[in-house]
Structure formats: structure tokens, C-alpha cells
């Protein structure tokens, strides 16, 4: 699970993601006026950049297999691990079904 880029052309260069990320994942390219997801491997999946993204350029994904192994359920959960949040309102059916 980590932050993902949904659409770089939507990045308006507001730099919110660079500001709020506690894990130093984001950098900024001042020439292109775009953020850079420089270290996704250090993303803690907190979603702060996602909710602060003014251009709606970012998403949260579970597709990456790099999630941490929790204390239990190591093997059984892996195949279920496909919750993808991209744009607001675009969630997989599974997540939607969970929440009333």
C-alpha cells in the first residue's frame, strides 16, 4: 500500500503533498512545477497527501505488494489485499460494500 499517481497532468503544483508528508516521500520539481513521488517505499499510507491534494492528482493504492506483514494473518490476507482508492467515489466494490 502506498500513495500512487493517478494523473500527473492534474498536479497544479500546490506543494501541499510536500508539506504534509511526514515520511519525506515527496519532492518538488520547480522547473516542471510538479510534485515528485520520490520515495514511495517509505510511504506509511496515512493518506494525508491524498486528502490535501488540490489537483486530485494522487491516489491511495493497496495494489503494491509492499505492505507490512502484520502480526497475524500473514498469509491469508495477501490475496484479499486489493482495496484501491483512486479518485473520490471510485472505490472497489469490496470497500464500498463494507461501509454503510
Amino acid at each position: 500500500m502506498s500513495v500512487v499517481r493517478v494523473d500527473l497532468s492534474k498536479c497544479i503544483g500546490c506543494e501541499s503533498c510536500v508539506k504534509v508528508c511526514p515520511m519525506d516521500v515527496f519532492y518538488f520539481d520547480h522547473t516542471a512545477h510538479k510534485s515528485v513521488i520520490a520515495y514511495p517505499e517509505n510511504c506509511q499510507s496515512c493518506g494525508q497527501c491524498f486528502v490535501h491534494c488540490q489537483g486530485r492528482s494522487l491516489g491511495m493504492s493497496n495494489d503494491m505488494f509492499g505492505f507490512a506483514i502484520p502480526a497475524m494473518r500473514q498469509t491469508t490476507t495477501a490475496p484479499m489485499n486489493r482495496v484501491v482508492v483512486t479518485e473520490p467515489g471510485v472505490l472497489t466494490e469490496m470497500t464500498r460494500g463494507e461501509l454503510p
Binding site: 522547473t31 520520490a38 499510507s45 491524498f50 497475524m72 482495496v83 470497500t95
Partner: protein, 615 residues
């Protein structure tokens, strides 16, 4: 390039080769506050209000880093309404008789004042929940909801408060060294992470409020905290306590490792005030439900080798708030009571233990100060500690069931006290700037990983350490054999991995320092867990599944000595240990798996089974 030709940029760009640093290389101040969560912010403002020059340093951006962006409840005590005695008894019993009642008393007397302070700062301003505000919840429109209430969002208030109080701050700056000479603190050093610039700050007094840590965030958003303060304190010879008491937060097995999956609304909604939930009438069920929920459920689940649920359940805070976090009970008819009512939006349950492996149970981890102290004074002149994971203040005892929901409040009180004490110290102390030799020597050490040519990637080391420490048989259901075996692995990492961590960029440099700190922290955890041959609060030993009052009504501290780590016992004050004459099964209301059998008494199976069902 592409931009000049006005072609859209659609491919992720590379990390810029260099980043400018907005900060100077040297600073001088009266009080430097390290870390700016609830503890650090309160320390900084109180020290500033006392007339001192204050400088704040944080590894992230204040309000968005550490644990403080996340709480959903803020529990405080109302002396005009609440029953202090009921609360004291609850925490004494629920904390397994090692609660620091002096600090708990500070919550009783000070939390209302602190509540008002945070409310005035705009951090507890109520605004409609997503379900009430429109269709944000239905559409899962997190960003839209945040934008709609941006003016009220508490996270932005941290920087606002610092600016209003004239407190300068250095962001994205990791402190790696606190410099002590002749028993007196002299200053701190660290580096601006994006640029790698080394920064030295000379100060009269230092408040460390850098939180605790975890090895790898795996569902609980605690990744910015990585035991940096604990490491520094240990190296300075201070006693580190609470390592054996495990954090109880979980993750969802549907989306393990993702705090976003089940904490997003919690982050976006306002913090709900709570409290007033314990009384003489409900004391027994109050304690039982809390201890079962926070502590014993996971021990049973581990013992049964099963997760607690399917991971797809949804927790409806509105129905369970009184149990989960302590909204006021019995005050429903009181129109002025703001601490009752529903807490938050429904959220997916965290059914799997292991959200923040390595973290200590709230308020147990960190430096153990004198038991008479209520200022966070360490043994070193001018050096103070405050907050979760940094200061072993133990107001909730061996875990925090009966203090659940008061950590953010308590850290604020803790920081306020440390800030006041540090300011008073600084008012009398002289400033002795850090010498050029010291700065040069420390700079060399701080940047050393950048000069390692062949070594280990800190991300690899992180995953290896997490792999050793994460299994439930290491942290939840402990035993001698497993702890010993894991210790061998961690010692190996200490000796053969930590010295060869390699950085290519200043981002990596941060990771290398963090890794070194995590390895030390894991060693402390294992040694403390091995030493405590009993079960108490948030440490459960499968091979000693009972409380051993004769030997372990004490705090353990891990200390640096010439021969390595040494564990010492600090007895709990007699008056905090409850009625020692009481029969065991009356003295302790809830039992670990295997405890009644080991102690030779019979109890009906717990009505409230937090853990999984037996197959």
C-alpha cells in the same frame, strides 16, 4: 524541458538533484523543543509565555507528523462534576497497580485547563461529521470534506499557534544529537532532511518531545516517530522504561498496513471531547470492559492463534463510544455537557494486532524520571522529556485501558509542565555556545553513512527487523525461548548491520539514523520482556501467565553501562500498589489466558470475549 514546449508532463519526474535549505547552520536560543506534537507544542508555548526565546525543531511539519494528527477523542476531567475517586480507583486497578498516581493526579487537576487551552487554539472546534455535512461520506469524498471545513481543520492550527506566539520552527529537520557537557545540556544537532544541511543549535535548556516509534508503520500512522529521542536519551545514560509493554493498536486484515483504509474519517473529523465515564456505580464493568478490550482481547486471540474477526466488520462509534473511548455517561440530560454523544463515523474494524510494532503502550515508554517529579526533569541539568514514548510517566499504569482517550490530553499537560520547568531553568542558566570542535566532530558522525561505500540499504534492514519483531509470538504472546532467539537476531543486526548502513541521499541518511535507533529499541524491548517474568498490563508471557506482585511491582529501566545494557528495577511507590492483602482474584479483575489455572482459582469464562473463538 517538456514544460517549455507546453507538452503535458505525464511521466513521474526524477527526484531533483539538490534541494535548497531555508535554514541557517547555527542557532542560539533559550529553550529548544524537539518534536512538535501535543507535547512539544504545549512545551513551546508555555516556555514562550514565560518570556524565554524558544525554537522548535520537527522532523516533519508540526500538526502533520508523529501521532498527534490522529486522535479522535480528547478525554478530560471536570472537577465540578466527575468523581475523582472513581477515576483513581479505575486507573489503579486497570493499570495493574503500577500507575504513577502523582502524574494521574495532574490529569485530575489540570486537564480542564488544558482542554480550554486547546479549544482556544481551535483544535477542538466541532464541525459537522461527513454524514451530517452532505454526501461526503456516501461518496467517500475525503478531499472534498477536508476542503469544505479547511478553516476549522485542527491540523493547520499547530503552525498558526507557533506563529501567533512568535515561536520560530525548523521543519523537516531531524535531531540526532543532544549535547551534554559536564552534566549540563548545551544544545542539539541534526540535519535538514531534504537538503542534508547539518544544523547546530546552542541552547540553555532542551525539551525532548519526539514521540516513541515503530519499526515500520503497518496500519497505525506512527511512522514518523522512530525512537530517535529514546536512542539519544539511552546514549546519554538516562534510564529507559516501559519497553516491555506493547502497543495494542491493530490494523485491518482486509487492508493490512493501511491506516488510510480505516482511519481516514477519524483524521478528518473533529476531535471529540470525552470523559466523565467512570463512577462508583459502574466501576467494575468499566474496568473489565476496558481491560478486556484494550489488553486481554489480543492475548486471547494470540493464544487461540486466530485473528479477532474477519476483518470486514465495521465499528459503529456511535453505538460503542462509551466503551471504546469514554464519552460521558449519565450526563445525557445535562445540556451543557459536551463530552457525551456520538464519536465518529462508522469505520472498518482493526481486527489484527500489529499496527505499530515496537511502540510502547501509550505513556509507558521513554525516560523514567524521579517518581516525585511532575516536570519531566531528567537527571541532566537543563534536559526535560515530555509526551508519548519519550517520557515514561505511567499515568495509566502497565497499559492504558482506563486512560483510553486521554493520551492526547495527557501529553499536552506533560508538555506544558516540561516547558514551564525548562523556561525556569533557562532563566537562570548561562548560554555556552557549542564549540567548533564539537560541531565538526558531530557533523562527521551525522554524515558518516553518506561515506559508506559498500553496505546495507536501510529499507532492507527495516523489513528484516520488522520481520523478526512482528510475529505475535514475539510481541503479544511472549516466551523465554522465542525472546532469546529473537534477541540473537537483533544483536546480530546491532553488530553487523547497524555500522554498515549506507546512504546515497540525505533522505537515506534519515533512514540510516532511524534504523540504528530501531535496532537499539528492539534490543531494549526484548531484554525488558525477558526480565519481566510475569504478565502485567500490555506484556503477556505465555510461560508466566500471571501477575507476580512479590517480584514485579516495579518499573524496569534499561540502562547503558560499560558492559552493555543493564536492566534495573525501580519499585512502585507503596501507596500506588493497592490493597496487598486482598485475595489475588479480587485484586485483579481480569485474567490472562492460563492465569486462573496457574494461580489455582476458578472463574467463569469472560462474558466479554475480545479475542477469537476457539475452533
Amino acid at each position: 524541458m517538456e514544460n517549455k514546449e507546453r507538452k503535458p508532463v505525464t511521466k513521474e519526474l526524477p527526484r531533483p538533484a539538490s534541494v535548497p535549505c531555508p535554514y541557517e547552520a547555527r542557532y542560539e536560543t533559550d529553550v529548544v523543543v524537539l518534536g512538535c506534537g501535543f507535547a512539544g507544542l504545549n512545551a513551546a508555548v508555555t516556555a514562550r509565555e514565560s518570556g524565554r526565546r524558544v525554537l522548535v525543531v520537527d522532523k516533519g511539519r508540526p500538526g502533520f507528523s508523529g501521532l498527534s494528527p490522529w486522535p479522535s477523542s480528547f478525554r478530560w476531567f471536570d472537577p465540578e462534576k466527575d468523581d475523582a475517586d472513581a477515576f483513581r480507583r479505575a486507573v489503579l486497578i486497570g493499570g495493574d497497580y503500577i500507575s504513577n498516581m502523582k502524574w494521574y493526579e495532574e490529569w485530575i487537576t489540570d486537564s480542564k485547563r488544558i482542554y480550554h487551552r486547546l479549544r482556544d487554539w481551535g483544535m477542538l472546534t466541532p464541525f459537522p461529521k461527513p454524514q451530517e455535512a452532505g454526501d461526503f461520506f456516501e461518496r467517500q469524498d475525503y478531499a472534498g470534506y477536508r476542503e469544505a471545513f479547511q478553516q476549522l481543520d485542527r491540523h493547520e492550527k499547530w503552525v498558526e499557534v507557533l506563529e501567533k506566539n512568535g515561536i520560530p520552527f525548523l521543519e523537516y529537520t531531524m535531531v540526532t544529537d543532544v549535547i551534554v557537557e559536564e552534566g549540563r545540556v548545551r544544545g542539539v544537532m541534526g540535519f535538514h532532511v531534504p537538503s542534508g544541511k547539518v544544523i547546530a543549535i546552542s541552547a540553555r535548556a532542551v525539551v525532548m518531545a519526539m514521540g516513541g516509534g515503530c519499526y515500520k508503520p503497518s496500519g497505525f500512522p506512527a511512522g514518523g516517530d522512530t525512537f530517535d529521542g529514546e536512542y539519544i536519551a539511552y546514549e546519554l545514560g538516562l534510564p529507559i522504561s516501559g519497553k516491555e509493554f506493547e502497543d495494542s493498536h491493530g490494523t485491518s486484515s482486509v487492508a493490512p498496513g493501511s491506516p488510510f483504509y480505516y482511519m481516514n474519517w477519524q483524521y478528518l473529523e473533529n476531535i471529540w471531547p470525552g470523559g466523565g465515564d467512570a463512577s462508583q456505580d459502574n466501576l467494575k464493568p468499566f474496568i473489565e470492559s476496558k481491560v478486556n478490550f484494550v489488553v486481554l482481547g489480543r492475548a486471547r486471540a494470540a493464544k487461540n492463534r486466530l485473528p479477532a474477526s474477519t476483518g470486514k466488520e465495521v465499528t459503529r462509534e456511535a453505538e460503542t463510544n462509551a466503551l471504546r473511548r469514554g464519552a460521558a455517561l449519565g450526563y445525557e440530560t445535562d445540556p451543557d455537557e459536551i463530552r457525551s454523544g456520538k464519536l465518529g463515523s462508522p469505520l472498518p474494524a482493526s481486527d489484527t494486532h500489529g499496527g505499530a510494532i515496537g511502540m510502547s503502550s501509550h505513556l509507558t515508554g521513554g525516560v523514567l524520571c524521579d517518581l516525585e517529579d511532575v516536570s519531566g526533569r531528567t537527571g541532566i541539568d537543563g534536559l526535560y522529556v515530555a509526551g508519548d514514548g519519550m517520557h515514561a510517566s505511567y499515568p495509566g499504569g502497565a497499559s492504558y485501558p482506563c486512560g483510553r482517550g486521554f493520551t492526547s490530553c495527557f501529553c499536552s499537560i506533560d508538555g506544558d509542565h516540561a516547558g514551564r520547568a525548562a523556561a525556569a531553568f533557562a532563566a537562570e542558566a548561562t548560554l555556552q555556545p557549542l564549540s567548533e570542535e564539537t560541531v565538526a566532530e558531530r557533523t562527521e558522525a551525522i554524515t558518516a553513512p553518506l561515506r559508506v561505500e559498500r553496505g546495507f540499504d536501510p529499507n532492507w534492514a527495516r523489513d528484516v527487523l520488522h520481520g523478526f519483531m512482528a510475529p505475535y509470538w514475539v510481541t503479544i504472546s511472549k516466551s523465554e525461548k522465542v525472546l532469546e532467539a529473537t534477541l540473537v537476531q537483533v544483536e546480530y543486526m546491532r553488530d553487523h548491520v547497524a555500522p554498515y548502513l549506507m546512504a546515497r541521499t540525505s533522505h537515506d541518511l534519515r533512514l540510516c539514523h532511524e534504523m540504528k535507533h530501531k535496532i537499539l529499541s528492539a534490543e531494549m524491548k526484548l531484554r525488558a520482556s525477558l526480565y519481566r517474568k510475569e504478565s502485567r498490563g500490555a506484556t503477556y508471557r505465555e510461560d508466566y501467565p500471571y501477575r507476580d506482585d512479590e517480584h514485579f511491582l516495579c518499573y524496569l529501566t534499561v540502562n547503558k553501562t560499560g558492559e552493555g545494557m543493564e536492566i534495573r528495577e525501580v519499585p512502585v511507590k507503596e501507596e500506588w500498589t493497592g490493597d496487598r492483602e486482598q485475595a489475588y482474584e479480587k485484586r485483579y479483575l481480569c485474567y490472562y489466558p492460563g492465569e486462573p489455572e496457574a494461580r489455582g482459582f476458578h472463574v467463569e469464562p469472560p462474558r466479554w470475549m475480545g479475542g477469537g473463538k476457539k475452533p
